[in-house]
């Protein structure tokens, strides 16, 4: 598509090229996940936290490590365990060589305020206390420790979670889920070529070497926040698109009134709540980034549609009897919403 930007926005154009290089870099390490990489790029430029969800061994961790490598900046990583306590993230306590106990900054504080990516593996293995600590870290990007407040202006939390395992895991509280910009489901690639390469090409077997082989620092992580703000201000939303987003929101929360009928479901009681204003604001933020990545300085309905399931689906609370079938119901509901709400 031709460049429709004004000359004053040349810097945004440069950044769009950088975003393209970023996608190529990550795509070299993670095959067949173009959509997930595109969504992660959108999340990066929307300054939103991301929860990756998927089967065992589909490359959740590899993808996040590749992203962390390409973004550059300091990055910390923890593994969720049942016995992890919030203080384990903040403090590192040990007995020093002289036999005295020592308390030093833990994984979150160690990199000090330069931390750009905090990577939480298997987040659902950690207890709710840990989720509560993350809540503040994600919402306010601050943390109180050693009697002072730490700020992490560039922080983004990437978490992943195993969808299959349910034993000894803790469901994320609704408030914590709502603070994730996106929940991206990761599937093994369907493409035969990608599958063959993943299984037979030794390059993909050694994750450390694979990640080390990527170009680091494709993006200037310190400038990301400024660019993100510039994108939000630079991309226009017409009254028609505003009405469209509000229409989608209404149809998602009250599907029965919008005239949506899904087989085998009681539409009246299906959706109990959720889809907060914050969630819809996130939706518009992500859609603006998508419009920018597509080289437009105005939003179209396709931008909203491209990010809608990942941004909105996890914010909707279903009737408890339907909650177990959420994975099947939500894509259907999102599809039906887009089929019924008129655009323009």
């Amino acid at each position: 598509m031709m460049n429709q930007f004004r000359s004053g926005d040349a810097i945004l154009t440069d950044w769009r090229e950088a975003a393209g290089r970023f996608e190529t870099t990550v795509g070299a390490a993670v095959l067949g996940q173009a959509r997930a990489i595109r969504l992660l790029t959108i999340a990066l430029f929307a300054r939103g936290h991301v929860l990756l969800e998927g089967d065992v061994g589909v490359g959740k961790t590899t993808l996040l490590r590749a992203v962390a490598r390409a973004v550059g900046g300091a990055y910390a990583r923890v593994e969720g365990t049942v016995d992890m306590m919030p203080t384990d993230l903040v403090y590192h306590t040990y007995l020093a060589e002289d036999g005295r106990p020592r308390v030093e900054p833990g994984p979150v504080l160690r990199q000090s305020e330069d931390l750009s990516i905090f990577f939480f593996n298997e987040i659902n293995r950690a207890r709710p206390q840990v989720h509560a600590l993350l809540l503040r870290l994600m919402a306010e990007r601050t943390l109180t420790a050693f009697n002072r407040e730490y700020r992490f202006p560039n922080l983004q939390v990437f978490a992943d979670r195993n969808r299959v395992e349910r034993e000894e895991t803790f469901e994320l509280p609704a408030a914590a889920r709502d603070r994730f910009l996106m929940e991206i489901g990761l599937e093994a690639p369907r493409d035969a070529e990608a599958r063959r390469a993943l299984v037979f090409d030794p390059r993909f077997h050694d994750t450390d070497a694979l990640i080390a082989g990527l170009d680091g620092d494709v993006l200037d992580h310190a400038a990301l926040a400024g660019i993100a703000a510039a994108i939000q201000h630079g991309i226009q939303a017409s009254p028609a698109i505003e009405a469209y987003v509000i229409g989608l929101w209404e149809a998602l929360v009250r599907p029965a009134q919008a005239g949506i009928r899904l087989p085998g479901l009681d539409m009246e009681g299906l959706v109990q709540g959720g889809a907060s204003p914050r969630g819809v604001a996130f939706l518009v933020r992500a859609a603006r980034v998508r419009a920018w990545l597509e080289g437009r300085d105005w939003m179209v309905p396709e931008d909203v549609r491209a990010v809608f399931p990942e941004v909105m689906a996890h914010r909707v609370f279903l009737e408890p009897i339907y909650e177990l079938r959420r994975a099947a119901i939500m894509p259907e509901l999102c599809r039906a919403v887009f089929e019924i709400v008129p655009a323009p």
């Binding site: 028609a240 396709e302 089929e339």
Partner: protein, 307 residues
């Protein structure tokens, strides 16, 4: 009408105080003669006792076979006040199975009923005897019928069944058939079966008509958005869902009849995007004017007719 024949039998005065407490026992039967095998024999027994006495239900005869030829079919007792005394009326229904060869008198056996009066000091019982009474039964046929050649002639012919009236049945059948047809019609409507199957609409023909009328107005430029919307509605209806610009390729694949208009549809979507979501329509409606739109809608309507 039944002739009620009154048979009054005064109870013999019993010795002791019981006699004073049972005032009278009276058996009434409709008639004492003219009964055949299987007939019901009804009797009514009135017992008048001192006030305060109450019938002991367990002392009444039990319905069932009394003798080999007599059944008690039914029995009911009603109590009422009779002057300053207490009256109990028993309704008895017997059935006789006596196959009589000549007219003869049969005796229905008597029985005794017990009345109780309960006070703080104890209970007093008194027995009232209902006497036996007789009635005449008659044979159904002669003893020695005239000789017949065929033994079957001794049998009476079967009764004739009168001609039935089929009208209510026919009316009922007709009513049920009407209801069934109505229900079928309702089902067909619900499932959109044949007569209710809506004809595939012609959304593009509608859109073309609307755009033509908009284009004919003296100053059509302000109506550009309406015209775009009209074609959007047509496309949405044809696709069965909301069609966005990125869905055009899928739509053309599933609706190959419109494949020829692919490039123009793409220009239409680009113009619509610009108008509704972007910086607004190009000056003088630029590359895709109202006339182009009308022509595209007309061609789509044509493709729709031939599809």
């Amino acid at each position: 009408m039944r002739i009620r024949c009154l048979a009054l039998i005064l109870a013999p005065l019993l010795s002791g105080p019981a006699g004073a407490q049972v005032h009278s026992v009276e058996v009434r039967t409709p008639r004492p003669f003219g009964y055949f095998l299987g007939d019901l024999v009804r009797a009514e027994v009135d017992l008048v006792v001192e006030p305060g006495f109450r019938l002991q239900a367990a002392s009444l005869p039990k319905p069932g076979a009394l003798t080999y030829w007599l059944d008690l079919r039914d029995l009911d007792a009603t109590a009422s006040v009779y002057g300053d005394a207490q009256r109990v009326r028993l309704g008895l229904t017997y059935q006789t199975f006596y196959a009589a060869l000549d007219a003869r008198a049969l005796e229905i056996p008597g029985f005794t009923v017990t009345f109780v009066s309960e006070s703080d000091h104890g209970a007093t019982t008194v027995k009232a005897a209902v006497p036996a009474w007789s009635f005449n039964v008659s044979p159904l046929r002669e003893i020695q019928p005239p000789a017949r050649d065929d033994p079957r002639d001794y049998m009476r012919p079967d009764g004739k069944v009168g001609p039935g009236n089929p009208r209510p049945l026919l009316l009922g059948a007709a009513g049920s058939a009407t209801l069934a047809l109505l229900a079928l019609a309702g089902l067909a409507r619900d499932r959109t079966w044949w007569p209710f199957r809506t004809r595939r609409g012609r959304p593009f023909a509608l859109a073309a008509r609307r755009i033509r009328s908009l284009a004919r107005r003296p100053d059509p430029t302000p109506h550009y958005r309406d015209a775009l919307l009209a074609l959007h509605v047509g496309l949405d209806t044809a696709a069965g869902r909301r069609l966005l610009a990125d869905d055009l390729d899928d739509f053309l694949k599933t609706h190959p009849a419109y494949a020829l208009e692919g490039p123009d549809l793409a220009r239409f979507f680009a113009a619509s995007r610009r108008t509704f979501f972007g910086p607004g329509p190009e000056p003088e409606l630029g590359a895709f004017a109202l006339a182009d739109l009308a022509a595209l809608a007309r061609r789509l309507a044509h493709a729709e007719r031939t599809a």
